[in-house]
């Protein structure tokens, strides 16, 4: 293992070698993923109430966003603290189109994903000149600006014009769900299937040419350039894929909560997301699943156990802290400096 590989592995980050498609490890992981999916799809709804199914739906949606953020950070080395803003774009586009047209819900979500990807790439194009801390800050600032705009435009409620707002909102002015998933249980299963498709899409990228290019960019952009990797294209590709996944998640959220609030997309949510993504781990896509569960389910569990949900902030902070301390200690032990 080279120094760079050792460093990445110790830091809980991916090593440069891309796992083979059909190795024993891959088959085991695929089997575990299939088992988790089947349990989540059929066993969990049978054992829990509507309340928890709604929370698990939120977790599945957020796991897509977390998976996209983790992919950018862990696989390409791009830090986005603005992913929640793109999540909001996906939600807004889905709702606007949902009220303006009779198009089938999957089409709305797909268009939301594509539009979010285009916006993500347009925002990412100039930002790709930046890396590390600067990229994190520029994305966070862009997200903060987006929140201000969102606070003014609000989410569409079926009215006319660009904003699509009506003066008096009634229950009928909420976002529709797909015909096959009108109930909360049905929609939970629908979201699970979409989440699996999104993670499958990410995995397909990781085990093929883009994944290898991203790994080389992540370790050394200069070396990647020297070996003929078109770094701009592949970075934009990663940005576009992550934005697409996030936009799709936004589309799912629109039908999940039906009347979303701008508070869902607060600046602090970007920071909490990054904290849980690091806690969940960025080395594998499983980190996204863990992060989604942490954000959506942990606060509710705390409330159920008699604690205020704000304890989750302390736990997220402590978890991030512990993760950083452990990886720093491991780096120290190996005599590696980032």
């Amino acid at each position: 293992m080279t120094t760079v590989d050792a460093h990445s592995a110790l830091a809980g980050e991916p090593v440069s070698t891309v796992p083979s498609r059909f190795g024993r490890r891959s088959i085991t992981q695929a089997a575990i993923a299939a088992a988790v999916f089947l349990i989540a799809m059929f066993v969990l709804p049978a054992l829990t109430s509507t309340f928890w199914v709604k929370n698990f739906t939120s977790a599945a949606i957020l796991s897509i966003v977390a998976g996209a953020t983790g992919l950018l950070y862990g696989r390409v080395g791009l830090v986005s603290l603005g992913q929640i803003a793109l999540y909001g774009v996906g939600t807004w586009v889905t709702m606007r189109l949902g009220f303006a047209t009779d198009w089938p819900y999957p089409v709305l979500v797909l268009i939301a994903g594509v539009i979010t990807a285009v916006i993500g790439v347009l925002l990412g194009l100039p930002a790709l000149r930046l890396q590390g801390l600067y990229l994190a800050l520029v994305t966070l600032m862009a997200a903060a600006a987006f929140l201000v705009i969102l606070a003014d435009t609000k989410f569409p409620t079926g009215g006319p014009g660009f904003k699509g707002l009506v003066v008096e909102v009634t229950n009928s002015d909420s976002m529709r769900r797909p015909d096959v998933a009108e109930t909360d249980f049905g929609f939970y299963r629908y979201v699970l299937v979409v989440a699996v498709i999104m993670f499958g899409l990410a995995l397909a990228h990781l085990v093929s040419k883009p994944g290898r290019a991203w790994a080389s960019i992540r370790h050394s952009e200069a070396a990647a350039l020297a070996t003929g990797v078109n770094t701009t294209t592949y970075k934009l590709w990663a940005w576009g894929l992550a934005s697409f996944m996030t936009g799709i998640a936004g589309g799912l959220l629109a039908a999940h909560v039906r009347s979303p609030s701008t508070f869902t997309f607060g600046v602090e949510q970007n920071i909490i997301l990054m904290a849980v993504v690091v806690m969940g781990g960025v080395a594998t896509l499983w980190g996204g699943v863990v992060a989604g569960l942490l954000v959506a389910v942990l606060p509710e569990l705390l409330q159920k156990w008699g604690f205020s949900s704000e304890w989750s902030l302390i736990l997220f902070g402590t978890g991030l802290f512990a993760n950083l301390l452990i990886t720093s200690w491991q780096l120290d032990k190996a005599g590696i400096k980032e």
């Binding site: 830090v79 100039p126 930002a127 000149r129 930046l130 890396q131 590390g132 801390l133 600067y134 994190a136 800050l137 520029v138 966070l140 600032m141 862009a142 903060a144 600006a145 201000v148 705009i149 606070a151 003014d152 952009e221 200069a222 600046v267 602090e268 920071i271 909490i272 990054m274 904290a275 690091v278 205020s308 704000e310 304890w311 989750s312 902030l313 302390i314 736990l315 997220f316 902070g317 402590t318 991030l320 802290f321 950083l324 301390l325 720093s328 200690w329 780096l331 120290d332 590696i336 400096k337 980032e338």
Partner: protein, 301 residues
């Protein structure tokens, strides 16, 4: 058309907030240059200090107000020092992003603690003695807190400039900012200098916390915690390097933000809140217009 008398009150308000941005920016910049840590917990620490001040004023009978104000600064300095001395050295081998994530974790912990100790829905706040005294200039009401904020910002930036140039520890800070490893090899007491930087930054956290409560008119822990984000805008415009550029950028942002609040511009007034972000993102992209790659926090072309 707006006339000068309409703009003037917003100018005063803008200068006051610009001063707070300038003080926050100075605290963040000096700490970053000396330790390599961009302290995202700056706002949370100030908010924690301000909450303790509120608690001492409103919930105790024995504590005089002046002592409660001092407590804000002391608590903020102590918390910053705690992080800087106990935790920050553990992340010494991380890149600037890793170090920043450590402070983000600290901010989340503090925010969670504040939520649990002082419920967010309680209407809280306190006035500094300077906040209740006013005078008028060109029909605009000016509080002494606004005047104090501007004077204090000038004092802080001027004082830091002199400190960095004229004192032994200031020179050591500049040396570390230039090249940490060589400075260490030459015998500069890096840990002691870093401790001084953390302490100074912590004191500024407390002062900013006090001023913000008075200027906002309430103690909003979430708003104060994430006030660090717009406060970073002037630091970024100053390329995380130039103190006086940061200082002037802070005032420009503060004034532009406030003037956009004047409703007759035909622009929704809440868009004024994007001012700092637009300036910062614009500046970052402008500086990065030539290909720049960041390696371990250092720019190479």
């Amino acid at each position: 058309m707006l006339n000068t008398s309409q703009l003037f009150p917003f100018l005063i308000s803008g200068l006051a907030f610009g001063a707070v941005y300038a003080m926050s920016g100075t605290g963040l910049l000096v700490l970053y240059r000396t330790t390599g840590v961009l302290n995202f917990a700056f706002g949370a620490i100030g908010a924690m200090g301000a909450n303790i001040t509120w608690h001492l004023i409103e919930k105790t009978e024995w504590c005089p107000d002046w002592l409660a104000y001092v407590a804000c600064v002391v608590v903020s300095a102590a918390l910053t020092l705690l992080y800087g001395v106990v935790f920050a050295p553990r992340f010494a081998n991380r890149d600037p992003l890793g170090k920043m994530l450590g402070t983000l974790a600290f901010a989340l912990i503090l925010l969670g603690l504040m939520f649990n100790l002082w419920r967010s829905q309680d209407a809280r706040g306190f006035r500094l003695p300077t906040g209740t005294r006013r005078f008028e200039i060109f029909d605009a009401r000016v509080t002494w807190t606004q005047v104090v904020a501007v004077l204090f910002a000038l004092l802080v930036v001027g004082g830091v400039t002199i400190f960095l140039r004229a004192t032994k520890i200031g020179t050591a800070m500049r040396a570390i900012a230039n090249d940490r490893e060589i400075s260490s090899l030459l015998g500069v007491p890096v840990r002691r200098v870093e401790t001084a930087a953390w302490l100074g930054s912590g004191v500024l956290c407390g002062i900013v916390g006090l001023l913000l409560v008075d200027l906002f008119g309430s103690l909003d822990m979430v708003l104060m915690t994430w006030f660090v984000i717009p406060s970073l805008a002037p630091v970024l415009i100053g390329q995380m390097r130039y103190l006086w550029v940061t200082f002037f950028a802070a005032f420009v942002i503060g004034v532009v933000e406030a003037e956009l609040n004047a409703s007759n511009w035909g622009w929704p007034s809440q868009y004024r809140k994007t001012t700092a972000y637009v300036f910062a993102v614009g500046a970052l992209l402008w500086f990065a217009r030539k290909r720049t790659i960041m390696i371990s926090g250092r720019a190479t072309r």
